[in-house]
């Protein structure tokens, strides 16, 4: 019996030390890991749609709680003014969720850039919604109040040939982004002010 107890205690002590050490390292590296994931997963897209900004949108980011979900926002400084904010939303595509980063100019409430981050659409068909620049270009300058719909649904957007569902998914993500933006606008403006230099 005493032997059993000794074994149990040894393992318990070992495990708790290991747990404590890992928790410490986890909390120590959390910030950096988050930044690295953003940099390599969303970074390239974000840089493309925020081209010409004078700051690093990956560093100048903040979080807001929207109902139950927490959303990240990225701030872009253009001509010395932090007037652009980007957020990622998801739409339902053909092969799963399509992640889209949408950059919005806050002075004009206009879309200034969109970019697909993650998707599992058919290569060569639906995947062109990510790669075809002319598809993304259609959204440029549209007001956030406009309904984002493909022509087949009575909207203005020319769908990627043969990929109506993927195009609809991207539109769905934009509708979401616009809704979130309008719902949280006062909070967003308040947060962005902090980035003014």
């Amino acid at each position: 019996m005493r032997d059993m107890l000794k074994l149990l205690i040894t393992i318990a002590v070992f495990s708790s030390f290991s747990g404590g050490l890992l928790a410490a390292i986890q909390s120590g590296t959390k910030e950096r890991i988050e930044y690295q994931q953003l940099k390599f997963v969303k970074g390239p897209t974000l840089q493309r749609i925020m081209e010409g900004c004078s700051n690093d949108p990956l560093v100048d980011r903040f979080k807001l709680t929207d109902g139950k979900v927490e959303r990240s926002f990225f701030v872009g400084v253009f001509d010395g003014e932090p007037n652009t904010v980007a957020l990622e939303t998801f739409g339902k595509g053909y092969g799963g969720e399509i992640g889209v980063i949408v950059a919005i100019n806050m002075e004009k409430d206009e879309i200034v850039g969109i970019g697909v981050t993650t998707h599992s659409e058919t290569p060569g068909v639906g995947a062109r919604a990510k790669d075809d620049p002319s598809f993304a270009a259609q959204f440029m300058g549209m007001s956030v109040k406009e309904p984002f719909k493909v022509k087949a649904d009575g909207g203005k957007i020319d769908a990627v040939t043969g990929a109506t569902i993927s195009s609809r998914g991207v539109c769905g993500a934009l509708v979401d982004a616009a809704e979130v933006y309008m719902r949280l606008k006062t909070d967003i403006v308040g947060k962005v002010k902090a980035f003014k230099t």
């Binding site: 074994l7 390292i25 590296t29």
Partner: protein
């Protein structure tokens, strides 16, 4: 066990070099040596775990009861592997993405547990450190050699670790032996290198 510390260190470099002499730890050896960068990264990660677990286990060898020693070793090893995983995510994220599942799998790498059971549990901390370092460096060098062979002939490039830029080794007319970067190619390479090592050892 009267070997000097230097001997404990150098045996890992040639006489007991893990993938070739002991033919242990083949899972990561065969799986990740497609590019030089992956091979070196995997080797360094394993070396770190091996050295840390060897030293800690040898320091604790009198505290750990015999009946639960394997469980304790695994806790120690798994802890260090998770440390490596977190650090790699924080400081070398692209490498982490490429090595993926093979980092957590270091926990069940026979070399690490094998050294803990066969060496660290019977020897002092200094000797265990030398043993871990020697075996680890031997493992890293083996992976590097294997990955250079496979990458240069298999895809015709050489990926420099850290900067991760791939340089073409041959001209544009080179037709890569893509067989070598596939899984069966790894076995063939390992066999050929084993053969060369045995030939060199014979004379």
């Amino acid at each position: 066990m009267a070997k000097s510390i230097v001997e404990e260190f150098t045996k890992g470099l040639w006489n007991e070099v893990p993938p070739f002499r002991l033919v242990l730890g083949l899972c990561p050896t065969l799986a990740v040596t497609k590019t030089v960068e992956n091979g070196v990264g995997m080797g360094i990660a394993t070396t770190f775990v091996l050295v840390c677990s060897n030293v800690l286990i040898s320091l604790l060898r009198n505290v750990i009861p015999k009946q639960v020693r394997i469980a304790c070793y695994i806790v120690v090893i798994a802890t260090f592997v998770t440390v490596v995983e977190l650090l790699m995510q924080a400081f070398a994220y692209p490498l982490f993405l490429k090595l993926g599942i093979f980092i957590p799998l270091i926990v069940v790498n026979c070399i690490v547990l094998g050294r803990a059971e066969a060496f660290a549990s019977k020897n002092g901390a200094a000797a265990s450190l030398a043993d871990g370092l020697g075996i680890g460096i031997g493992f890293t060098l083996s992976l590097t050699a294997l990955s250079i062979f496979r990458e240069v002939l298999g895809s015709g490039t050489f990926t420099v670790p850290i900067t991760s830029t791939a340089y073409p080794v041959f001209g544009p007319a080179f037709q890569p032996f893509s067989f070598l970067v596939e899984a069966p190619g790894a076995f063939v390479c390992l066999g050929l290198m084993l053969c060369v090592m045995n030939m060199l050892g014979k004379k």
